[in-house]
Amino acid sequence: MAMFEGLSEKLQATFKRLRGKGRLTEADVNEAMREVRVALLEADVNFKVVKDLISRIKERAIGQEVLESLTPGQQVVKIVHEEMISLMGGSESKIQISSKPPTVIMLVGLQGAGKTTHGAKLANLMKKQGKRPLLVACDIYRPAAIKQLEVLGEQIKVPVFSLGQISPVKIAGDSLEHARKNGNDVLIIDTAGRLHINEELMDELSNIREKVQPNEILLVVDAMTGQDAVNVAEAFHNQLGLDGVILSKLDGDTRGGAALSVKAVTGCPIKFAGMGEKIDALEVFHPDRMASRILGMGDVLTLIEKAQQNFDEKKAREMEEKIRKQELTLEDFLDQIKQLRSMGPLSSILEMIPGMGKQLKDVQIDENEFNRAEAIIYSMTPEERRKPLIIKDSRKKRIAKGSGTTIQDVGKLLKQYEQTKKMMKQLSGLPGMGGPGSKGGSKKGKKGKKGGQGKKSFLKLPFPF
């Protein structure tokens, strides 16, 4: 699959031949657009949507002085990127909270899209925001669907309203009554998965809508959906008038072109993205990041944001100071591990780095290694942490015992520490070498690549700097 680097390189090759030609002609752009088209199609963006998008991109690209730039390929990618963002709609959208509670949210979609799971995730989110949600079990068809919702409800301590396998329209209607009586200000209705061409079941949804007049009807779409996403979204939208979309299973490695397709045919914003099986793995959807992902550019923005949220500015500056003075101790080492790990599982961090997605498949990230390193350092005396050079055989033996590791493990860690220190010496000579808090935002491909290499070296070490 064409990664962003791949697309960028292909475009680069296309433009190379055109160097020195001044402005881009239509023929030049057409050739470039062929590459863009393939990249978007490989990412499962619907064919018709690609066509529209390409014609808009073409208009913008023709006549531009793209060739003046050293990297015309990336310039075109930038245009593509921008057009995709504008297609997916401005920034994040929120759930409309009704002025007259309860706010009624209805989840609809195909089988297996993740409605039940996302109903629970949404309830969990609402609860965290201080609301009193009620989950409503209207999937009377799938075996054990009601039970599934009840189990999830129990996990997050949110009540579940169910009347067994009777008419979903009646269940929904009664739940509204129940919510009013019990002071639930948000009603989340889980419906059965259905095919968009099943008239009977689609009518059932209309009837539920009539009965409860939802404030939000959200379509749950599997991020891995292919070309058919437009048909599905269109059918549900025509039947019900959707208010938004939840894109599920986005924690997979799909490029997620369906996001563009769905937005294009319904005009509805994608409000949330499901990022994992855990109940709190529901994130606000960011069109810009999704555009990068569809193009295979990696989710650099999320990475930077996470880093900013979790890296302590002051500590980062202290670290920079230490690096400059070459005073790195094992205590600093420990700090670094802690900070990095506070950003979440390493694997998910690495996946956000451009170009890493593919390489990552062969890299087994052993979180245990970090546990071991932490344990080893914790088993040292403060003096040992500050002056690791004093650690000789008998100390090593003690540390290994104390941390439940082997003498070899301790030796390995000390060696890694020495290597890192050596590397720091070299780095501190370079200008502009900020600490980990440095926001040298790598929004563009070139810098992104650099980020990838940086990470590679830390995988080997495996300590980040």
Partner: protein
């Protein structure tokens, strides 16, 4: 033959309408065989989730045939295309069943593709062929997945071996294999939790489940069946590749073909990963699981309505 054919055709009408209408409108509306025609054809294939590479390949093959056979009538092209698609799909590939011994099927896939439902249908299918079947509730992760399998077990009239939610799925598989041996059943079908193929630890868990089965029954698992949702796009290829690495997938079950998804993903997979499609799911009923017959499938895709 006619019966199955009609049923499949009826079920595939939606699929057909999308795909065939487009193909036929192109061919019948076409003036002559020219570049535009090929390009339009390529577009139809891409729109059916066939994938860019495979679509190009098919069109190239079509071009060659047109040249070699000196075809000038655009109306002949559907037949030729059908031929190439059938070739790409390979032979019909039934499930492997061990003679006079226990067969174990391990069913894997990403979340929400229909593993549990498919197992229910498969159990029914096998019992109606006179086989004794046992199910293992290996999805110990998702809420109420065990109950869901139990309902299907009841419908199909087969027993389910289970442990508590959150139990080690490899332990469930172990128990189930033991139970299957002592009860002398013909086929054990092991359900697993849905997992995204890029989660390394979860894929390792799958390898472990498989190893337990291998150790307990020589030659098992006789099938590792990857359940794929027909609405899935190009990511399906990635799914096949990674599940194959973790669990040596022996066959694919393509579900939800009763929607408007074109099923073109099968061609994309055959073009890139070489794992045979063994069964297809064409509805929510317990009988809506059919063997995948490549020729019949290609035929049903291209059959004109008056042929039925």
């Amino acid at each position: 033959m006619a019966g199955i054919f009609n049923k499949l055709k009826e079920k595939l009408t939606k699929t057909r309408q999308g795909f065939v209408d487009k193909v036929e409108s192109i061919f019948t509306g076409a003036r002559r065989i020219d570049e535009d025609l090929y390009e339009e054809l390529e577009e139809v294939l891409i729109q059916s989730d066939v994938g860019v590479a495979t679509s190009l390949e098919l069109v190239t093959l079509l071009r060659q045939s047109v040249k070699e056979r000196k075809i000038s009538d655009p109306l002949q092209l559907p037949e030729v295309l059908k031929e190439h698609i059938t070739n790409l799909l390979g032979e019909e590939n039934p499930l492997c069943i061990a003679e006079d011994n226990l067969s174990v099927y391990l069913v894997v896939g990403v979340n929400g593709v229909g593993k549990t439902t498919t197992i229910g249908k498969l159990a029914k299918n096998l019992t109606s062929q006179g086989k004794s079947v046992l199910l293992a509730a290996g999805d110990t992760f998702r809420a109420a997945a065990i109950e869901q399998l139990e309902v299907w077990g009841e419908r199909a009239g087969v027993e389910v071996i289970k442990q508590a939610e959150g139990a080690d799925p490899a332990a469930v598989a172990y128990d189930a294999v033991r139970a299957a041996k002592s009860r002398n059943v013909d086929i054990l079908i092991v359900d697993t939790a849905g997992r995204l193929h890029n989660k390394v630890n979860l894929m390792k868990e799958l390898s472990k489940i498989k190893k337990v089965i291998e150790r307990e029954v020589p030659g098992a698992p006789h099938e590792v069946l990857l359940v794929l949702d027909a609405t899935t796009g190009q990511n399906a290829i990635q799914q096949v590749k990674l599940f194959q690495e973790a669990a040596d997938v022996t066959g694919i079950i393509l579900t939800k073909l009763d929607g408007t998804a074109k099923g073109g993903v099968i061609l994309g997979i055959q073009g890139e990963a070489q794992v045979p499609v063994k069964l297809i799911g064409i509805g929510e009923g317990i009988d809506d699981l059919k063997p995948f017959d490549p020729a019949e499938f290609a035929n049903a895709l291209f059959a004109k309505s008056e042929e039925g």
